[in-house]
């Protein structure tokens, strides 16, 4: 039953995931934290951070939600559900895409969806921050991270690791 719910939640997220992985963050949080109470808000942001730390798409964090809910089987189900439906859709679209070349609606849709996705990304940032910036030190880390990222091209995974090392000493 739980596996079926996991599959359903992540399949819907997969098919509505316009604009890459992060635009589904608010809805994923609403589903797995607020509605089903599978994990806490703090855990949600930690899973997201681990998703950034591991190579590959950040969307793979769905595996950790599945793992928390139903062990390894949950991890596999959530990962398949969050990736495969979109992949099948993309495979099909790849075959008709060429015929849409020069169709003005293609350009217009691409243009229109950008600010909508950006609004979802902002909602995602707030959602993640609610679960992570809970003390002066964590707020400080987030502020420093923002400034460093805006001013340098340092590798994100290395920054996350550095913050982890800092947290291991200071936040224990």
């Amino acid at each position: 039953m739980t596996l079926r719910r996991l599959a359903l939640v992540f399949t819907i997220l997969s098919l509505l995931g316009f604009g890459g992985g992060n635009a589904i963050i608010p809805q994923m949080h609403a589903d797995v934290v607020d509605h089903y109470h599978w994990i806490t808000s703090a855990e949600f942001t930690r899973f997201f951070a681990l998703g950034k730390l591991a190579p590959g798409p950040t969307t793979t964090m769905a595996a950790l939600v599945g793992y928390a809910v139903a062990g390894l089987a949950g991890a596999v189900v959530a990962t398949i559900a969050v990736f495969v439906p979109a992949a099948v859709l993309v495979y099909g679209a790849g075959h008709v895409w060429g015929r849409l070349r020069g169709n003005p609606w293609r350009e217009r849709f691409a243009r229109a969806i950008k600010p909508v996705v950006l609004g979802l990304l902002w909602a995602g940032v707030v959602t993640l921050a609610r679960g992570a910036t809970d003390a002066p030190i964590t707020i400080g880390i987030a502020v420093v991270a923002t400034i460093v990222m805006l001013r340098t091209d340092w590798n994100q995974a290395i920054l996350v690791l550095a913050a982890g090392a800092f947290g291991a000493v200071v936040l224990r």
Binding site: T45, P57, Y91, L150, A168
Partner: protein, 183 residues
């Protein structure tokens, strides 16, 4: 898609190329790595075709790297190629994340909890910076109004993703329509 003679590459080549990127591209930066494999190292697509594939991958639902893998794989080796490139993109990250997660989440050591809190705060900052950069590219009244309305709709009214897309994609289509058509 529209190239008359797609280059045939071995399924093994797809598995190695996409698997290598997925297992080694830590902390974003996957797309430049994928382009290097697909365009430069293997010559499966030229730069124009790659940009075309990227545009479609970004337009459709799903994470961009896995979408690009499906599209490139299908051009190189049909349905089998798409499947191989897709799994090569998802599986290494999944395996590494499971090991990381099993260690970090089942641990009750205090320093692991502290490390996770530090990582999470950093991830918030990275995502905020990324979103600021994307927003700075779209400084015009219409776009900013749509961005603000969508964010408020989701955060204040707790609207679902489906409802948000159903309302705001048509609204954005009208508001961002080309000037020539509007006059």
């Amino acid at each position: 898609m529209d190239s008359p003679e797609p280059k045939r590459g071995s399924l093994l080549g797809l598995a190695i190329s996409f698997g290598r990127v997925s297992a080694t591209a830590f902390g974003g930066g996957q797309m430049p790595a994928i382009r290097r494999e697909v365009v430069r190292r293997n010559g499966w697509l030229d730069d124009d075709s790659f940009l075309e594939v990227l545009a479609l991958a970004q337009l459709l639902p799903g994470s961009n790297p896995s979408n690009v893998a499906v599209l490139v794989g299908s051009r190189v080796g049909g349905m089998a190629g798409a499947a191989v490139a897709f799994f090569a993109t998802v599986l290494p990250g999944f395996a590494i994340l499971m090991v990381l997660g099993a260690f970090a989440l089942d641990s009750h050591l205090p320093w692991v909890g502290g490390a996770l809190r530090g990582c999470a705060a950093m991830a918030v900052g990275l995502t905020l910076a990324n979103t600021i950069e994307l927003t700075a590219k779209r400084i015009n009244v219409v776009d900013i109004a749509i961005v603000a309305a969508v964010a408020a709709f989701v955060l204040v009214l707790h609207a679902s993703l489906a409802l948000t897309l159903a309302i705001f994609i048509p609204v954005a289509l009208v508001l961002t329509r080309p000037k020539s058509e509007a006059s």
